[in-house]
């Protein structure tokens, strides 16, 4: 079953072409790595999928439907920046999520917060950026969504927490759902990927299964990515 489909997707900022004729399909039950150098168009693609940008042309379909209320109830999105109301406490933020998302599992969120040593009563404004990112990840992974989209989820956290986060992602996401994870820390996430989408200069340059890629090039995805990037330059 195709969960996400992009057809002839283009995005221009004035004269600058950020995405050029992107055509991708993501089926249910896959963990997809969205890889690419800085400024390659990963975040633009993710924002288009989440209806945070308006495409110049082309379309995005989530479960066969255009972005809207229904698609938003299916997608659990972790942006690269923290989006909390800073004067709210973690507890109030949990209540906010429970208010708006029917699929939000409050008990799971509370357990994850406890595991990560995060205090529910603490104000967001009193937390470090890393702590805020952890809270945000907990909120996103505590939804029982059909599609998880994580934009640089490991960027601001220490290496020790990265493993915990990856395990959290793996143990908390159901087999019928899909997960798109955008990162440049490829070696960290390589072990969990089913598919790889490589994007450069706004174009999809590679979309293959992770195992097939490793077999084809007889090396790690991290090494393939570095090589492809070097060739593209």
């Amino acid at each position: 079953m195709v969960l996400l489909e992009c057809r002839g997707l283009n995005k221009k900022y004035g004269q600058k072409q950020a995405l050029k004729n992107v055509n991708i399909e993501v089926t249910a039950g896959k963990i997809v790595g969205l890889l690419g150098p800085n400024g390659s168009g990963k975040t633009t693609l993710i924002k288009l999928i989440n209806n945070l940008l308006t495409p110049t042309s082309g379309e995005v379909l989530i479960n066969g439907k255009q972005p809207g209320v229904e698609s938003k109830s299916m997608i659990s999105y972790l942006p690269e920046r923290t989006y909390f109301r800073r004067n709210m406490s973690v507890k109030k933020t949990l209540e906010f999520f429970a208010d708006f998302y029917k699929d939000f599992d409050l008990k799971r969120a509370q357990k994850l917060l406890k595991d990560l040593d995060l205090d529910e009563n603490q104000r967001i404004s009193a937390m470090s950026k890393g702590m805020q990112e952890k809270v945000q990840l907990v909120l996103v992974m505590s939804r029982r969504a059909k599609l998880y989209i994580l934009d640089e989820p490991l960027g601001g956290v220490d290496p020790a927490t990265r493993d915990y986060i990856l395990d959290t992602i793996l143990t908390n996401f159901n087999e019928k759902a899909s997960l798109i994870i955008s990162t440049h820390l490829i070696s960290d996430i390589e072990r969990i990927l089913d598919e790889v989408i490589m994007i450069n200069k706004g174009q999809v340059v590679m979309h293959e299964e992770a195992d097939a890629l490793r077999a084809k090039y007889k090396t790690s995805i991290d090494a393939i990515f570095r090589k492809e990037l070097k060739n593209a330059r």
Partner: protein
């Protein structure tokens, strides 16, 4: 969902405005007490200081009501928080409507607090009688009471301030469609939106002056004619009707423009 959005929007705004409400009311009470005692030069000076502070707080409530609404609108829908708000499973129209209603409700509460502050600080039987006698000729001609006249004036001023508030919203929506210098564009578009509404109201008044010689002649004559006070009735009615129509048009257009966004 609109109710939930409105709950969070109102909480965010009232948390901030409550400080000014409290200060205004406290200063008004102190002013009242000090003017009532008024038995030494020191207390008289103090009374005038608190009188000034009360006036400043009233101005603060009005200014901060507008500023806070605009800052919240921009931060909540176009700042980092926008990443959360625009990915909530609610129609985009609901996001705007919630802000529209939040603006309306906070302005109503602010108006009531200002009225209460003024009453506490300055309303005495003498000042009330003075106001009544001042408005009596107008009330008689318009076949109403002095209180009704005051309420009507407050209502028109309220609509005017609300138009300012939603013009700011429209400006932000249009300004944030641009690729750069978005805040600058937002201020410009907000100003244009406000001026456009004022020009339509002015045009409406000119049309009214054209069809009603009682209004038209004093306005258009080179002689210094004083218009009859009774012309205020059609002027008020027309301005209120126009405000309602323009607020509705502004709402419809803003919702339409808000459907397509490009977050930073």
């Amino acid at each position: 969902m609109l109710g939930k959005l409105l709950k969070y929007d109102l909480k965010a705004n009232f948390k901030f405005l409550a400080i000014f409400y409290t200060l205004a009311l406290v200063f008004a009470v102190i002013t009242r007490i000090l003017f009532a005692i008024n038995n030494s030069l020191f207390l008289t000076i103090l009374a005038y200081i608190f009188n000034g502070a009360t006036i400043a707080m009233i101005a603060n409530i009005l200014i901060n009501n507008l500023m806070r609404a605009w800052v919240h609108f921009k931060g909540n829908l176009y700042g980092d928080e926008g990443y959360l708000m625009h990915t909530l499973p609610v129609p985009r129209k609901c996001l705007y409507t919630s802000k529209f209603l939040m603006g309306l409700i906070t302005l109503i509460v602010s108006t009531l607090i200002i009225a209460a502050t003024m009453a506490i600080a300055w309303l005495t039987p003498e000042s009330f009688e003075m106001l009544k006698s001042f408005l009596a000729p107008m009330a008689e001609i318009l076949d109403s009471t002095a209180i009704e006249i005051v309420l009507l004036m407050i209502f028109v001023v309220f609509l005017e301030v609300f138009v300012m508030l939603i013009s700011g919203y429209t400006g932000i929506i249009l300004g944030f469609k641009k690729l750069s210098n978005r805040t600058g564009w937002a201020i410009l578009f907000g100003f244009i939106s406000y001026i456009a509404i004022q020009l339509v109201i002015l045009a409406g008044m000119f049309i009214l002056a054209g069809v009603n010689p009682e209004i038209g002649e004093p306005l258009l004559s080179s002689e210094q004619l004083v218009p009859d006070i009774s012309v205020l009735r059609p002027v008020y009615i027309l301005s209120i009707v126009l405000y309602f129509i323009l607020i509705a048009i502004s709402y419809v257009l803003s919702v339409k423009w808000f459907k397509k966004i490009d977050l930073d």
